[in-house]
């Protein structure tokens, strides 16, 4: 099982991080994705295959500064 922001996602094992982010409705231009404690840069999302037990934390930035 893979969790995204604490929620279990079925059937994501073996899929690419970029595909899972899009399937979960995240806007990839506004997020930072952490996998098991390490942030994965955007250009690695399409190369990163998810494995059983992965914990993803997705930060969606909102505007203001």
């Amino acid at each position: 099982m893979i969790t995204v922001n604490g929620r279990e996602i079925a059937g994501a094992e073996g899929k690419m991080l970029s595909d899972v982010m899009e399937a979960q409705g995240f806007d990839r231009k506004r997020i930072a994705v952490e996998r098991n404690g390490l942030v994965i840069p955007r250009n690695k999302h399409a190369l990163t295959q998810l494995a059983d037990g992965d914990h993803l934390e997705v930060v969606t930035f909102v505007g203001g500064g």
Binding site: R30, I31, G37, L38, V39, N43, F61, G63, G64, G65
Partner: protein, 211 residues
């Protein structure tokens, strides 16, 4: 204007935090990426705390619309934010060495701009720019520290804002959800987020990684 020696400023800073803490901060290097409501407030807080090397990055000029929350004055309108902030800091703490880059940060120039900075405080306004900065950071400098801000618009409770350690070397301040498309930006709440970021930068420069 009263003349104050650098030595007097140094002594006064040491009197408050102790020489060891102050010397560590004076040797510290921090970048502030963006000099709007967050960045101008972060930069001044770090200068007052005596962080010795501040690297300020912004491409913009001061505009009337900035004055509701940013640390500029009517007389600054039309001037480059980097230059105004460098002058302001020189009058607050002459021990601080300020370096400015008046440039828009892009994925292409990222590595060169931030090559000397131990800690980066993200202070952009657009979510895409915040994400781009995080992306550049973890592509080029994952062993350094990034302190970012997200969710500070409006005048909701200040108690919903916090500093969170999101990942290794990555800290996020703010409420995480209230964007400028939902509510206008206002000085107090932007200031809380800025102060949280500045405090985390100080902690990291002092070797403390917990929030």
């Amino acid at each position: 204007m009263a003349l104050v020696s650098k030595e007097a400023v140094y002594k006064e800073l040491c009197r408050r935090q102790g020489k060891e803490v102050q010397d560590t901060l004076l040797a510290g290097r921090a970048a502030v990426a963006g000099l709007g409501g967050l960045g101008s407030t972060i930069a001044i807080a770090l200068a007052r705390a005596g962080v010795g090397h501040l690297h300020l990055i912004d491409f913009d000029r001061v505009d009337l619309s900035n004055l509701n929350r940013q640390q500029y004055r009517i007389s600054d309108i039309g001037e480059l934010k980097t230059e105004v902030m460098a002058k302001t800091i020189a009058e607050i703490n002459p021990l601080v060495q300020v370096r400015v880059d008046t440039v828009k940060v892009t994925p292409e120039n990222f590595a060169g701009i931030f090559k000397d900075d131990a800690v980066i405080a993200e202070a952009f306004d657009l979510p895409e720019a915040k994400a781009m900065l995080a992306d550049g950071f973890f592509t080029h400098y994952p062993e350094r520290y990034l302190v970012s801000g997200s969710g500070m618009a409006g005048y909701g409770s200040g108690n919903t804002m916090e500093t969170r350690k999101v990942a290794r070397h990555f800290y996020l301040c703010g409420d995480g959800s209230t964007g400028m498309d939902q509510a206008g930006l206002m000085a107090p709440r932007v200031g809380i987020c800025a102060a949280q970021e500045a405090n985390m930068v100080v902690r990291l420069l002092l070797g403390i990684e917990t929030v």
